[in-house]
């Protein structure tokens, strides 16, 4: 596989910084009471979302759980419309009816943001069934948390995908915890990729099923290989991105289940820093470009907030629309 070009990596850098600053702004807006409900930040995990989105081919699909801002932005959803959704405005991607956990864009092949742990996994199977049924070469990347691998939906969905030969890349973002429960306190098999064995999923496709999710280059390479393998073999795979979330599970998490030291240790491997160092090591001149991106992104987000704040709230007509087709 060809190594990504400098331009490609700079673009990934931009996306990761965009997600990071976007979420930092969201945290602020949450504190101000402008964002309500649950807010689950992706900070620390950006490389996974950006790497996946970069690996998708034109007609591939992504679907995820409620920790969805990162993949949504990486899939190219409009920053303004995503921010407007956070603020519950009618210009939001889901018209202000979905909120932080329920971003989606049919147009961009991003099938949501889903708030029920595991509930989107069968949807992924169904979307993949469409591709198989119509003999279209499409792969669905179904992202989930480590905690989601313990719910019944996970079992039924992986099993069905194996029996039916569905083109799904089941991708667990192992960030160490499901809320406050560490993986080995919740999973009988804590080496998560091994969970695929029980469904007869391929364990040795010729590349590692588990990869370092803190390095976007590695994520991109692994997911690209996974997609290519699935497309070629017409069978699902189960892969693991080893990652870490730097913030609490959601806003207001007292984080009694882990130490500050642990978080600090992982923060040294911040995926944005990793990519930045990698770029600068190779191309000294790139530093100015990266700095400029930082400035541009802050500006882009300020504009998104402005757009969202000045957008109208939904109306009664919005409240009652799209219950039925």
């Amino acid at each position: 596989m060809a190594a990504p070009t400098k331009e490609t990596m700079i673009n990934w850098y931009r996306q990761m910084v965009l997600i990071r600053r976007f979420e930092e702004k969201c945290a602020e807006l949450y504190q101000q009471g402008k964002i309500g409900g649950f807010l689950h930040l992706y900070i620390g995990q950006e490389a996974t979302g950006v790497g996946i989105a970069a690996a998708l081919r034109q007609n591939d699909h992504a679907i995820t759980a409620y920790r969805d801002h990162g993949i949504a932005l990486a899939m190219g959803l409009d920053v303004n419309a995503v921010m407007a959704e956070m603020l519950g405005k009618r210009t939001g991607v889901s018209g202000g009816k979905g909120g932080s956990m329920h971003l989606a864009s049919r147009e961009k092949n991003f099938w949501g943001g889903h708030g029920i742990v595991g509930g989107h996994l069968p949807l992924a199977a169904g979307i993949a069934l469409k591709a198989k049924y119509l003999e279209e070469d499409e792969v669905v990347v179904a992202m989930m948390g480590d905690g989601a691998t313990n719910i019944g939906y996970f079992h039924e969905s992986l099993n069905l995908s194996a029996v039916w030969g569905l083109p799904v890349l089941w991708l667990v973002e192992n960030n160490g915890y499901g809320m406050g429960t560490a993986v080995d306190r919740a999973s009988g098999q804590a080496d998560l990729v091994k969970k695929g064995i029980g469904y007869g999923l391929e364990q040795d496709p010729g590349f590692s099923l588990s990869f370092n999710g803190m390095d976007v280059v590695e994520v991109h390479e692994a997911v690209s290989k996974g997609i290519e393998w699935i497309s070629r073999n017409g069978r699902p795979l189960f892969m693991e991105s080893r990652t870490y979330r730097f913030q609490g599970h959601s806003m207001g998490d007292p984080e009694r289940y882990r130490t500050k030291d642990e978080v600090a240790r992982y923060a040294e491997g911040d995926p944005i820093g990793v990519l930045r160092n990698r770029l600068i090591e190779k191309h000294k001149s790139v530093q100015a470009t990266l700095d400029k991106i930082e400035v541009e992104v802050v500006d882009e987000i300020a504009k998104a907030v402005e757009f969202a704040e000045s957008s109208p709230v939904p109306t009664y007509e919005d409240l009652v629309s799209y219950v039925y087709a």
Binding site: G92, V93, K97, G98, G112, P122, W164
Partner: protein, 326 residues
């Protein structure tokens, strides 16, 4: 137009077959739908006719049967997913309520969910408490989906075809003890009934009986008994629990001034409760007696036949309720 006297089973089968022939995107999935031919033989012969691509046997996995049908429907197919009996739909409750009925709304209309979730309901077969529910009303609680409860072969065919052609998710509930009931049904492949329309099944001037599915059978028997005493019952078959069409009920009550609601489900928070509330709200001044309800006993269903029958409604219980309001 040609017509045939056929069973509900044959009507369902014909509806499925016609719609699969009409639209390549319509397919069937569920436990034992293929090689077995359907637990209730509704899809017998389908695997041979349509092949394994369109008649898909699934593992015993209700969550993913319902949930993957939602995904396939969102993506543009028109799945007919089968949950063997409604008792097992409880396992898939989240896929049904939180996903099937919500993804359109929550993403502001970006997705449509044109799917049918077929299942069978009903007690009276000595299957014990877990296998004898008639809980279709539970599913009718939720906006974002429809619930169909046909009681005749004519309705079964026309309503199932409507459900398959509609762009909304429909829970299509068939009664497992009524599959052999016969009626005259049009052959026309474009015979489709409207969604959410109740139907006056019998005209009468003395009392309005509001019912559906198995209740239709008990009510019809009761009306025959009452007729011998010169009492004319009007029977309104709801056919759909959602959308719920009560206009004909209000019209009827204006004429009869009395209403009895008959259903197989449990008595607390049931169809009767809803219909009664709406009757008093809309046509209170026309009522000459309190509205009465006939339903199952507020109790689990047992195995032993004699006590199972005690717990279920029957024609005599309907007759008794009617006599109370006269």
């Amino acid at each position: 137009m040609a017509e045939k006297n056929i069973t509900i089973r044959e009507a369902l089968s014909a509806a499925l077959r016609e719609e699969m022939l009409r639209d390549e995107r319509v397919f069937i999935m569920g436990e034992e739908v293929g090689v077995w031919g359907g637990t209730y033989a509704v899809t017998r012969g389908f695997l041979d006719e349509f092949g394994a691509r369109r008649v898909r046997d699934t593992p015993i996995s209700e969550m993913v049967i319902a949930g993957s049908a939602v995904g396939a429907a969102m993506a543009g197919l028109r799945p007919i997913a089968e949950i063997m009996t409604i008792n097992f739909a409880f396992v898939a409750m989240d896929a049904i309520v939180n996903h099937m009925a919500k993804v359109r709304y929550m993403f502001n209309g970006q997705f449509k969910v044109p799917m049918v979730l077929r299942t069978t309901t009903g007690g009276g077969k000595q299957l014990g408490a877990t296998h004898s529910h008639a809980p279709e009303v539970v599913f009718a609680h939720f906006p974002g989906m429809y619930v169909a409860v046909p009681g005749t072969a004519y309705d079964a065919k026309g309503m199932l075809k409507a459900a398959i052609r509609d762009d909304n998710p429909v829970m299509f509930v068939e009664h497992s003890t009524m599959l052999q009931r016969r009626s005259v049904v049009p052959d026309d492949p474009d015979f489709v009934l409207p969604i959410g329309k109740s139907d006056v099944k019998r005209q009468g001037k003395d009392v309005t009986i509001v019912t559906y599915q198995k209740g239709l059978e008990w009510s019809t028997q009761a009306a025959d008994i009452l007729a011998k005493d010169g009492i004319e019952a009007e029977i309104i078959d709801l056919r759909w629990l959602r959308p719920l069409d009560l206009e004909p009920v209000f019209e009827s009550v204006k004429k009869t001034n009395r209403a009895v609601i008959v259903e197989e489900s449990l008595p607390r928070y049931n169809v009767g409760a809803e219909v009664t509330a709406q009757i008093q709200d809309q046509v209170f001044d026309y009522l000459d007696a309190p509205v009465k309800r006939v339903s199952a006993l507020d109790n689990p269903l047992p195995y032993a036949s004699n006590i199972e029958m005690m717990a279920l409604p029957d024609a005599q219980k309907v007759v008794a309720a009617v006599k109370e309001v006269l």
